[in-house]
């Protein structure tokens, strides 16, 4: 059974081990409570709460890694040097350990003072170290992969700092000294204490590791400054991209991000001010510009222009923000957008969302608002000429609020060419394979080239720009020139004879302009390109397209559903 990654928080532990001239050592572990073998003997060592037996049971069930002693952990986690520099994974019963054991090249050379009368002592050398995370064995493989990534990043920082100023050696020395001290004290007066508890206030590295653990358990976002110098930042997408108890798998996220188009928009999930406040001091100015310029009504291409950045850069920063859970991809807001309640929306009367909504928009309640989106409705339909413009603005705000909380999905129109089967050939068992199967994939993926002045989804905008490479050939306007005729014929050539006949027999096909337009857009009629995409690529108005669809409705099947490319943000775990 694969465990729900959202509950990974309570099962982790972080452990730091080293191997060197002093043998294998466990320097630090957190959480540091270790249970004695028999639950009943908790009165002495390491008892933590006032209800030892119940708590033991819970801890045993919840933190199985704690049952391993420091010594055995040091033995099994301080690996041999030949598996250093790679992912380390060890599973023992129901605990999985993952880390990235790292070799330290040069033993630090300690200069002993010339006036020091004591015999020269060899500084204990550290050969390798390993920052290990302990998880439930049945954790999702992508979670394990992420934890390994974090271990590796911390290792890189530590290795760097060790080379620069022997940071790790110093911290290790401190940790071991405290451990020795506590052991001695325990032997002397018999009162057991956890050495790790004492290490925490004295060692920055220990505090960093504790912080990593705590962050993973809560927000899923880790930000450390190793030796107050090197930054290590990391996020666990499984904790960040959570919608109603489910999560978006990182691979699905990546696939979506690769497929976004210039006509998409970036919707920030937090206020501009809040986001800017979270950025590190040395973050790129491009990121700041983007955050300041972006808006729910602006598509990425416009954003590129307004922020004066290359489109490619916009894509990269947008992907970054999405990955870190700070933004999602939507289709830019406009009055023709059609929205409907998301199947995953929480419409419960008592949800925290309902409460937040009432606070944000006094006098309105969320369920009533959501009920209005039970049937697909365009924003234009909410327009009331008698209402004050302020009302309309508030509506937009509410829609944005609902989109941010994944309560709404947007529906798009998709078209598919399907010609009525031939009547007078009853023997024909196999119908023509549909156009989709035949027309080779003309890649309409994210372009690296810019296209200027593309239309917004507003129908009122005059279209003046040239179309992109991806659009079909520019056909000369005007009439029935032989060149145009030939082009139309070529475009229709991918159809079967029967299909061509049926299409040419449609009354609208008698008009050469209409036929030409139909032929030119043929490759979109596979059910994979929605109306707005065709409008964008071909510089056409919505009304033009709708009229065309109507004229050729006898061979087209139209349906409406969400855009699968970005639906991942509304409907996780499809």
């Amino acid at each position: 059974m694969i465990e729900n990654p959202c509950t990974v928080s309570h099962k982790t532990a972080v452990i730091l081990v080293t191997s060197g001239s002093r043998g294998n050592k466990l320097l630090f572990r957190y959480p540091f409570q270790r249970l004695a073998e028999c639950p009943s003997s908790l009165t002495g060592s390491y008892a933590v709460t006032s209800h030892p037996t119940l708590h033991t049971f819970l801890i045993e069930a919840v933190l199985p890694s704690l049952r391993f002693s420091d010594i055995i952990l040091a033995t099994i986690l301080a690996t041999k040097s030949d598996i250093c520099g790679k992912k380390f994974e060890l599973k023992i019963d129901n605990v999985r350990f993952v880390g990235h054991p790292t070799l330290l090249q040069h033993p630090p050379i300690i200069q002993v003072s010339k006036t020091d009368p004591s015999p020269k002592r060899e500084m204990p050398t550290m050969i390798l170290f390993n920052v290990v995370f302990a998880l439930r064995a049945n954790a999702d493989p992508s979670v394990i992969s992420c934890m390994h990534n974090l271990s590796r990043r911390i290792a890189i920082a530590l290795q760097h700092e060790e080379r620069r100023c022997q940071y790790l050696t110093r911290e290790a020395k401190l940790m071991l000294a405290i451990q020795d001290e506590i052991t001695t004290m325990t032997e002397m007066d018999g009162s057991p204490q956890s050495p790790f508890r004492q290490i925490l206030p004295k060692c920055k590295l220990a505090r960093d590791l504790k912080e990593a653990y705590d962050s993973l358990c809560t927000t899923g976002v880790v930000r450390l400054h190793i030796n107050n110098w090197l930054e290590v930042s990391f996020c666990l997408p499984h904790k960040i991209h959570r919608i109603g108890g489910n999560y978006i798998p990182p691979e699905a996220l990546e696939r979506s991000l690769k497929a976004i188009r210039p006509y998409h928009a970036l919707l920030l999930l937090e206020s501009e001010k809040a986001l800017l406040g979270q950025l590190p001091l040395d973050c790129s100015p491009a990121m700041v510009r983007l955050i300041k310029t972006c808006s729910a009504v602006k598509n990425l291409q416009q954003l590129a222009q307004d922020a004066d950045l290359a489109l490619l850069q916009i894509f990269q920063i947008a992907a970054h923000l999405v990955y870190w859970g700070k933004a999602i991809i939507i289709y830019p807001l406009c009055e023709n957008n059609v929205y409907m309640l998301s199947p995953h929306a929480n419409i419960c009367l008592y949800s925290s969302l309902a409460e937040q909504f009432s606070q944000q928009f006094p006098g309105h309640d969320l369920p009533s608002m959501l009920a209005k989106f039970s049937l697909p409705v365009s924003l234009a339909e909410f327009r009331n000429p008698l209402e004050a413009p302020a009302q309309e603005a508030q509506l937009i705000q509410m829609v944005v609020w609902m989109l941010q909380r994944r309560l709404l999905i947007q529906l798009h129109t998709y078209v598919c060419l399907l010609v009525p089967p031939s009547e007078d050939e009853p023997g024909l068992r196999d119908e023509d394979p549909p156009l989709a199967a035949r027309v080779g994939g003309r890649s309409l993926s994210t372009p690296s080239a810019l296209s200027f002045g593309s239309p917004t989804s507003s129908d009122d905008m005059t279209l003046t720009s040239p179309s992109m490479d991806n659009s079909s050939a520019e056909l000369l306007p005007g009439g029935d020139s032989p060149l145009n005729k030939r082009m139309t014929e070529t475009l229709l050539a991918s159809l079967s004879e029967h299909e061509r006949q049926v299409i040419l027999n449609i009354p609208a096909a008698q008009n050469p302009e209409d036929l030409r337009m139909f032929a030119r857009l043929l490759h979109y009629f596979r059910g994979h390109h929605h109306l707005e995409e065709i409008m964008y690529n071909e510089n056409m108005r919505r009304s033009q397209l709708k009229t065309l669809f109507d004229k050729f409705r006898s061979v087209l099947v139209v349906t409406s559903h969400e855009d699968p490319i970005i639906s991942i943000f509304q409907s996780p775990m499809e």
Binding site: M1, E431, V557, H561
Partner: protein, 377 residues
């Protein structure tokens, strides 16, 4: 499919220390690899009897170290480990019970007859290992008699995802033809409810008609879900509303889905329905349109199509999804009770199932209530 690349028997030799005594195929585990991982194979006492899987040098080793203490052994203990080796990318969860079982068998054999500590009988291990590896890779199962009183029975069991909770208003439908079923394989409860699983009866109805307690039916169906024998759809009514999902395009893109669909939805005894008709029907489903509406608008397309099976197939393959109604009581005065069912968490399906009233009745009650809004999703 995980391929078991190697099986090995490792022990602690009194003079040579940890070593691999037998491995099939020979020389598979290099000296280097063993040196790196031996601490996880012949282990300290704290790790004995635990299933240990270690990944190193592109390989995964799964074993369970055993320690038998007795004065008769040199060093007073016998330490050994019988394990399997796979490629590092393999998911080896299914192998764990097998390795555990094998360690149990060897322990028993040693305790009963000194099978391992006796040099002569130990040699029998090599052909045993060979057979084990071969049969596990070939059939996933192995039955091997060792001596008069001991036989090894092993079987690889696929681990599957936990099935969802089955509600009383869910409808189980077979994913494959019912006739492919061997009834006797299943428990009595399942056998009893099988005739009532027709893709239209919901759990509550099955329980009533088969005269089996509701929770038993739920558990039995959950079991069938686990093995992928059935899937769940919602109750069918002509007043239901559905809409298409992006997956509906797979009907056009994927020939196998197309074929399966057209065969499934064509009315009995009729010529196979056309793709166009069926696709038009699915696309005709949209919010605000009931199945009844669909039937009157697309009567021509429905000539060769069974609309109930159309809906069923669409749900099973996620080409369409059902839009459920959720009543929410938004206005209430201070004195009245908190709404229990009209909270937005319970669909009409659920409310009708639990209270026994019909959809129509519920509609009538709620439509005239100004304090209640209805959300569809």
């Amino acid at each position: 499919e995980a391929n078991r690349e190697c099986i090995f028997f490792s022990e602690f030799h009194p003079t040579l220390g940890p070593k691999i005594t037998y491995q099939v195929p020979e020389e598979y585990i290099s000296r280097e690899l063993f040196d790196t991982v031996q601490v996880y194979i012949i282990t300290k006492p704290e790790l004995q009897n635990k299933l240990i899987t270690v990944t190193a040098m592109g390989k995964k080793l799964i074993g369970c170290p055993v320690c038998i203490e007795h004065k008769k052994y040199s060093r007073n203990a016998l330490l050994f480990n019988l394990g399997l080796v796979c490629d590092a990318q393999t998911n080896t969860c299914a192998l764990e019970p097998i390795v555990k079982k094998l360690s149990g068998y060897l322990t028993t054999l040693e305790l009963e007859s000194g099978f391992i500590s006796n040099e002569e009988s130990k040699q029998k291990l090599l052909p045993i290992l060979s057979t084990l590896l071969e049969e596990l890779n070939a059939t996933g199962a192995c039955t091997l008699p060792i001596d008069e009183s001991n036989t090894i029975h092993l079987k690889l069991i696929q681990l599957r995802k936990d099935p969802p909770i089955v509600q009383e208003y869910d409808v189980p439908v077979f994913t494959q033809c019912k006739d492919h079923f061997i009834k006797s394989q299943w428990d009595l409860t399942t056998q009893q409810i099988l005739p009532y699983i027709d893709g239209f009866r919901h759990i509550q109805k099955i329980s009533a008609e088969a005269d089996v307690e509701l929770n038993l039916v739920r558990i039995a169906v959950q079991n069938l879900l686990y093995y992928g024998v059935v899937t769940l759809v919602s109750i069918f009514q002509y007043s239901n509303v559905y809409c298409t999902t992006p997956k509906v395009q797979s009907l056009i893109d994927d020939k196998s889905v197309q074929d399966e669909c057209l065969n499934y939805v064509t009315k009995q005894g009729q010529k196979r329905a056309s793709l166009r008709d069926v696709f038009q029907l699915y696309c005709g489903l949209s919010p605000g349109t009931t199945v009844r509406d669909l039937c009157s608008r697309y009567s021509q397309q429905l000539q060769r199509v069974d609309e109930r099976r159309l809906i069923q197939f669409g749900l099973m393959k996620s080409l369409i999804r059902r839009l459920q109604k959720y009543p929410v009581k938004v206005i209430r005065d201070e004195r009245s009770r908190l709404p229990r069912l009209y909270t937005g968490c319970h669909s009409y399906d659920e409310i009708c199932c639990k209270t026994g009233i019909s959809y129509q009745e519920l509609d009538e009650r709620l439509e005239n209530d100004p304090n209640i809004v209805v959300c569809w999703k």
